[in-house]
Amino acid sequence: MAEPIICPVCGESNPADMEFCKNCQSRLLPLTGPLKDEDGPIHPGQIPTKKVTAELEPILPEWLREARKQARQSAEDEPTITGGDKQTKPLTQTPDLLAGLADQNKQGDEDDETPDWLRSITGAPAKKKKNEQDSSQVKWVELGHNEEPGKDVPGSESAGLPWMRGGESAPEKDELTEWFKQAASPAAPSGENLTFTKTEAPAPVQPDRSTPTTPVSSAGEVPVGTKDIQPYERESVKDLTGSALSSDIEIPDWIKKLDAETPSAGQHTESGKDAPSPAFSSDTDIADWIKKLDSGTPLVGQQSESSKETSTPALSSDKDIADWFKKLDSETPPPGQQPSSSKETPSPATMLPDVPDWLKSFDEAAGAGQSGTESGEALPDWLKTAGPSVQETPAGPAPAEPAIVQSQPIPEKNLPLSELPDWVSSLTPIEPRAAEPREPAVPAFQMEAPATSPAEPVSSVSALPTEPPAASPAGPVPAASAFTEIPESSDDVDAIFASMKIPDWLADITPSQPSPEEGLPPAAQAEEPIEPAELPSWVQAMRPVESAMRDSTAGPLDSRLEERGALAGLQGVLPAIPGATAATSKPKSHSIKLDATDQQQAHAALLEQILSAETAPVPMKADSVPRSQRVLRWALSALLIIILGGVIFGKTQIFPLPAQVPNETIAAIQAVEAIPADAPVLVAFDYEPATIGEMEASGASLMDHLLLLKHPRLALISTSPTGAALAERFMASTLAQRSYQSGAQYVDLGYLPGGLAGVFDFSQNPTAVMPLSADSAEVWNTQVMQGVTHLSDFAAVIVLTDSVESGRVWIEQTELARGNAPLIILSSAQAGPMFVPYVDSGQVKGMIAGLNGAAGAEQANGGLPGFVRRYWDAYSLGLLLVVVVMFLGGLWNLWLGIQDRRVHEAG
């Protein structure tokens, strides 16, 4: 389902199939339709198709070509005349077609506040502009007029163009003039009997396109009025609504008051010759159209249509009109001083020396005859042809309706759209509300909106391409209508103006300066702007950047030959995009200077020194003491060997045995003495041959004491591979005095492998673990091992060990299996301290550690076998010698060390 279309003018929602708004009858869709092919909109990045607009130059009418030429000339002369006006420079550089517009804009800017004619109407001398003549020509050229307001007076014909002076005085005949003639061929009645001045006309006026738009009462007055409007219309399109005149207008209250306060005005209107001012001749008659003007709704459409046919762009802004009225009111003499009739009324020129030219001409035209201008002799051809209703309007107050009926529409066949210049035809699509569906061939400046409804107030305005089509129907419409009806009412304009007072609503409008947006049509004021990319073809052709883009893109960069890579040898394959490289910003330069503090520099120097020291070769220091060390070792060895050897071989007994026996030794002796006689005793030999001297001397006394006292049956076992041999050595040499024989008094079970597990397993089941002796004989069935099947069957377990680990294994792993059998440790002096805790805990019944502990046992054994005593002098002397050497040598080396450190620190 198609979405409803929102009217861009009134905002009314319309069905999708509607072409015109059901409310305001505005065109809902652009007439041109979607742009296609060449005329299609261009998109960003797309290179527009170049169109040579110069080809259209010959098609233009001659007057237009001349006007364009003059516009260019004026644009060129502009900087020199204005003394370097900066604003005109860029405008003069625009294409030819826009030159006049630029100049017009310039002129429009200059006339924004107060037009010349408006300044001159006040009687004050208008400031002469420097480039008045040049700019004025540009202005009328662009808008289709040929004269400036101040130059269209009959008396100043020399200032105007020849063709504006009339048919006989127009030496040139251009297309526009002919076009107007053709348009005015069904001539309207004379301008004296303008229909809109007829207040007696029926109030309901049907909108008709044939209604003449020239709001003049006579032919001679038409130029004045229209010419006065010309600069006026350039500023605002809203003022077009002011041309809406109708006979059904009612005079508003302020007009009535004005009439009441100015009796002379009423006299003046009544004394009018042929065409008394319809606006003031009768209050009742005036009231209708004035009311209409005030309401501003139905008459605007009529005015639009009338102006459309007569090509009179009766445009004015409400603001300017209000100013005009204000000034007029302020400078108008009191009503009492106004002449009662136009005949008695002196010429404004004589009354007011500062009367502007156009008023003078107005007066002269009036003096020439009120109806003298009816024939249109003084009118130029284009006005004659353009104002058929004026010429054919019968004199006197004629009803408005016949005049409207007699109005002939502009023959469309004479001006098809295709024959129009591009700049004219292309302007029409801008306005969505343009009256193109009805009269597409009418030039833009003549076209009016299709005021099919009286309620459409601004349809005529929309036809103008360069000015906003719509205006608020409240304010500007009455002001414009009042302005436009002044010249048609009577030639005594001063009296009329003098009798008028500006109402409040009009005065309020006057000072307000319409903003640029207010002058725009509602569609243009809408928030949604036209997409910049969808430019019509005519704008595309007018774009001056086209050539620049083409030049930039079609530069020599496109034909660059690739020299490397996969595209080597190909030309123009990768065209460089203009600006892609040029737009690159220059990389920001950073300072490479390092700002380091003194501390950082010191650290850097230190680091550098360290690194350099790492790479520098370090000389090897020669060891200066190897000989002395070797000598020392030899000296120490010799000292010990000589002294101890001498003591041993000398069998000296200088050093007495220690008198105090350790407690663990005493416990060991007591435990041995507690062993029953001829009891099996397990003896473990877990020491190495290296410590055999200490171990045999340490264990001999206790074992001798045991053998001597108890004569036990011994079972020898060892957890060391050499243990069995050492056991045999111990029994054969150390206890040789006891004459123990293997297999008779003792058995050698041999080596018990497995370490901790072997000891544990042996403790659990000794007969199974060690079934054979070292000689591979049965031992458990021998006499020696009689009655022994478990570890607890042994009367005691004696462990000779020089190792803490082996002694600990026997202590720990046999504790449960031993039962009540005591464990006695015979250890070396090195391992003795480690068994002290077990002795203190009771796990070990006694211990003899080293030669010092064995001394007590030997003493308890009566000095037998005497190993302790034999080695005690050597032992004691050796210890004292070592202590002395260590002490003295330690002090010496300590001093040497201090010296070395001093030398090292000094070096």
Binding site: P689, G693, T722, E728, A768, L891, G897
Partner: protein, 203 residues
């Protein structure tokens, strides 16, 4: 394979451990421990064979020091032969032990005594700090306290200072070491039981 070894090791360890607390499991525990003793003896035998292989390779390849390898192998086979055939109580075997093994190892201990003395002298030159001084002082006191003087004992040293050092300081240190060893052994056993440590192989 690794899983099987792990399971086997853990299971064996658990059974032996539980056997200490549950007498019913003692026979199984004994069997496992007997297997361990046999395996340990076999390992010693394997070590002997490995020693023979290494030194035999050196001799066959004429490497440097092959003469010592030859002497080692000769002594090895002689001791093995005499020990295996004659037995440890044979006079020839006793002679071999008393004439070779005991003097050699005893000499090493004698050299060690000289080296230790020399090192103790050089200690204060190389490392003159408090610990070195304490070490030297303690050694001197214990040696002096262990020996007797020609004219008799030094009562304070032999009867008081040395026993105090031996039964207080040394005993404390020894107990600490033993406790640490026990804890270490317990931890190592648990790690083996849970498979964290696999000394039998595997990662």
């Amino acid at each position: 394979m690794r899983i099987a070894a792990l399971v086997l090791a853990v299971l064996t360890g658990v059974i032996v451990l539980v056997g200490y607390f549950i007498p019913v499991l003692n026979p199984i525990q004994t069997i496992f421990l007997t297997w361990a003793i046999i395996l340990a003896g076999t390992a010693a035998l394997v070590g002997v064979f490995n020693l023979i292989l290494v030194h035999g390779t050196k001799i066959s390849q004429r490497e440097k020091g092959r003469i010592y390898s030859a002497i080692l192998l000769i002594c090895l086979f002689a001791a093995f032969f005499f020990g295996l055939v004659l037995g440890p109580d044979h006079p020839g075997m006793r002679l071999l032990v008393n004439a070779v093994i005991v003097p050699v190892e005893a000499s090493l201990m004698a050299v060690l005594a000289v080296t230790l003395l020399y090192a103790s002298i050089r200690l204060l030159r190389r490392r003159a700090n408090l610990m070195s001084v304490l070490f030297i002082a303690t050694a001197l006191l214990m040696m002096i306290g262990s020996a007797t003087l020609p004219f008799g004992e030094v009562g304070a040293l032999n009867n008081f200072l040395r026993p105090w050092f031996q039964h207080v300081l040394a005993l404390g240190g020894a107990r600490g070491i033993l406790i640490g060893v026990a804890l270490g052994t317990l931890t190592t056993g648990l790690r083996v039981l849970i498979g964290a440590d696999r000394p039998y192989g595997g990662k």
